[in-house]
Symmetry: C2
Subunit: 408 residues, 2 copies
């Protein structure tokens, strides 16, 4: 197969184009498909696996959402909630690698950024770097492929096999309506970050992370308390250096903290969850409680709702977050019953729901998902509605001025 | 003039009747007028001054409002605000005693319960009792006359002259649409209490009372700090024994406290004011903030309103007060500007206003009254609207079932 080296930006017909590739990437052309090889020595097991890039049939661009979080922090639950908002069910690519990390529905494709690990498990051990370390990840390829998809071009995305710890042969990713890139580094690389139409950071506090890990790794997997502590401590320096700083770029942060309703609680079962929403983001209008821009606390348990101990407390207000103006909605505690949720929903504004009670309906539909009775589920669902609205507004604005949108 | 002693309840024609008088009261009849003497030896200066009681022309009963508060605690400002809600101006009775304590407008008549002092200043000194002591007040006469007015009968009410400290000859009080009895003991006597259609207690905390007295008595009247302290201390035992306990009976309490926005504030200039509203009172629907029955705090200063230091903070929630279920609206801080007040008004519900902005309009109209920029003015105005609504509802319900109403 013929291959040529291209260093300049290539504009294809219609809305397809490719930006400057990394120095080690070679392109070949076949009709409207672009075959993309890497000759990188980092990829021991798949040298010369071709990446096929195809132009999209339609003029509509893919909307790209970034979701950052540590592993085991509820990203997959969030993705299931998001997909559900669009009415579909997310499934792995049909007939592909059974260990694929990708989830595809009618509207959304969720890819896991672990697939851009440049070092497999053995490689990381040899070099003494963690998966959190940027040196274990190929940001050039991540950028190129996300950009290609955004521009309507299919790509052959690598697969990192979490079972074997190896880099498997790539899978074809066609441009969906909404591409979600989820993982450790969606906002780390400035080029990738600039491709995002909306970005979310799931920020689980150390106390809660510890409580969750204990529950999962100790109770379900038989790990010792010491080994769990050691594993968290070992990850911490890289996490603080490379993952945590991304939250300053997020349009929305879901922060999960221990409850303040029970003094000195360290069970980590009852959660205080904050939805930190950046102001001034196009097509994103922050949710508020009662009075936009003021500072409010609200305990809905009273004459109308009787909540069991320790109750539920909401808060809302403007704040500053990494130098950005934000609005924060907070929920501490958990729901006992359905009518509590619909009651709360009726007092939140700017929910981006399509009918009264949609948030409650979504939460009830997935009552078995983790966090359905607390702020994690509530705010994930709300962010899902926000993303749907953002998508619809972007599509509408592009339909109005396609030339302008293609240039944007 | 003929006089007869009556011990039984007398029912007059139409809706007039008189209940059992005290053993020292004598009645004489002249057409539809009742001439009432007292032969009490307590009233040295006006033995045989006749009290004339006349039947009301209409069938509508007078609505009676009780307002309890210590002297110098803003009762007169409150009364001016209340009168203003009904559109009139309150003035002393025309051509009467220039030292009369009564204020009359088209709709309301405000009488001061000091007029029912049974001992004048000299008498109190001789017996060693304060004006706060029930023994210095004639509750039998208070009850009889308030009852008579409520039943549509004019009375000759005594006058306590605050300038001379003497009991002056009485003045004629005709039954108004609304009678307000204001003073130290409107809810002390169970019989008087039962006549009240609505009752209010102005509860000024000791810290604020002290700050106010210092400002008035020291700055304006040249009293010394020591004499002010001594005067407050001297009143305290009787105040605690006879005045303060009345607040348990009040349908609404306006509680005035030092601000909590400034730590350790003792200036008494910025106030935290609470409107404590009893639940389950007929024709009185408590004001609430955002969500009826829940617990809320609200700082309206934010993106829309910029408040100067120390800002404004509202709170709302259900509570218990002397064993009664109440709803409390609280305002801490003060308004800088007009738009702040209209903004606050737009977020309060159940205000009983007749049009949007009526509270703000009333407050602006009397911007020169004390407390117009803080919770005392706001809650006095709101209580005024509440009384107007209560009056209109009572009148409407009586019009629907006049027989039932006359018996009630």
């Amino acid at each position: 197969m013929a291959a040529c080296t291209v260093y300049s930006t290539l504009s294809l017909k219609t809305n397809c184009f490719i930006s400057t590739p990394s120095s080690k990437t070679h392109y070949g052309f076949h009709h409207k498909q672009i075959v993309l090889y890497t000759t990188s020595k980092r990829h021991n097991k798949r040298v010369n696996n071709p990446y096929v890039i195809t132009c999209a049939a339609s003029d509509s661009q893919t909307v790209v959402i970034g979701l950052a979080a540590d592993s085991g922090c509820g990203k997959s639950t969030f993705m299931r909630r998001l997909t559900s908002v669009f009415g579909g069910t997310a499934e792995p690519p049909k007939g592909g690698n059974p260990d694929s990390n990708t989830l595809i529905s009618d509207t959304t494709t969720v890819i896991c950024l672990d697939d851009y690990h440049s070092l497999d498990r053995t490689g990381r051990k040899e070099k003494g770097v963690t998966a959190l370390d940027p040196r274990a990840n190929d940001f050039d390829l991540m950028y190129e492929q996300v950009k290609a998809i955004k521009d309507g071009i299919s790509v052959q995305k690598p697969i990192y096999n979490h079972v074997t710890g190896l880099l498997d042969p790539p899978e074809l990713i066609k441009p969906p309506k909404i591409l979600v890139i989820e993982g450790l580094h969606p906002m780390y690389d400035a080029r990738v970050r600039d491709l995002l139409d909306f970005s979310i950071y799931l920020d689980i506090s150390n106390e809660v992370k510890f409580a969750w890990k204990i529950q999962r790794d100790m109770a379900e997997r038989g790990h010792s308390l010491e080994s769990i502590k050691a594993s968290i401590e070992a990850r911490k320096p890289d996490f603080d250096a490379y993952i945590d700083p991304q939250k300053q770029y997020a349009d929305a942060v879901i922060e999960v903290l221990p409850t303040e309703l029970i003094p000195d609680d360290n069970e980590g079962k009852i959660l205080r969850v904050r939805l930190i929403q950046k102001e001034g983001v196009k097509n994103f209008s922050p949710v508020y409680l009662f009075d936009d821009g003021s500072t409010i606390s609200w305990i809905p348990c009273g004459r109308k709702l009787t909540c069991s101990y320790p109750g539920i407390k909401f808060a809302y207000g403007p704040d500053a977050y990494y130098g950005n103006e934000v609005s924060i909605v907070e929920m501490d505690g958990q729901f006992d019953r359905l009518d509590e949720l619909i009651y709360v929903e009726s007092h939140l504004s700017n929910l981006s729901s399509k009918f009264y009670g949609e948030v409650t309906q979504q939460m009830l539909k997935h009552a078995d998902f983790p966090g359905s009775n607390n702020g994690t589920g509530l705010f994930q669902t709300i962010v899902g509605l926000k993303i749907r609205e953002l998508y619809e507004q972007l599509v509408a604005s592009r339909a109005q001025s396609p030339v302008k949108a293609a240039k944007a």
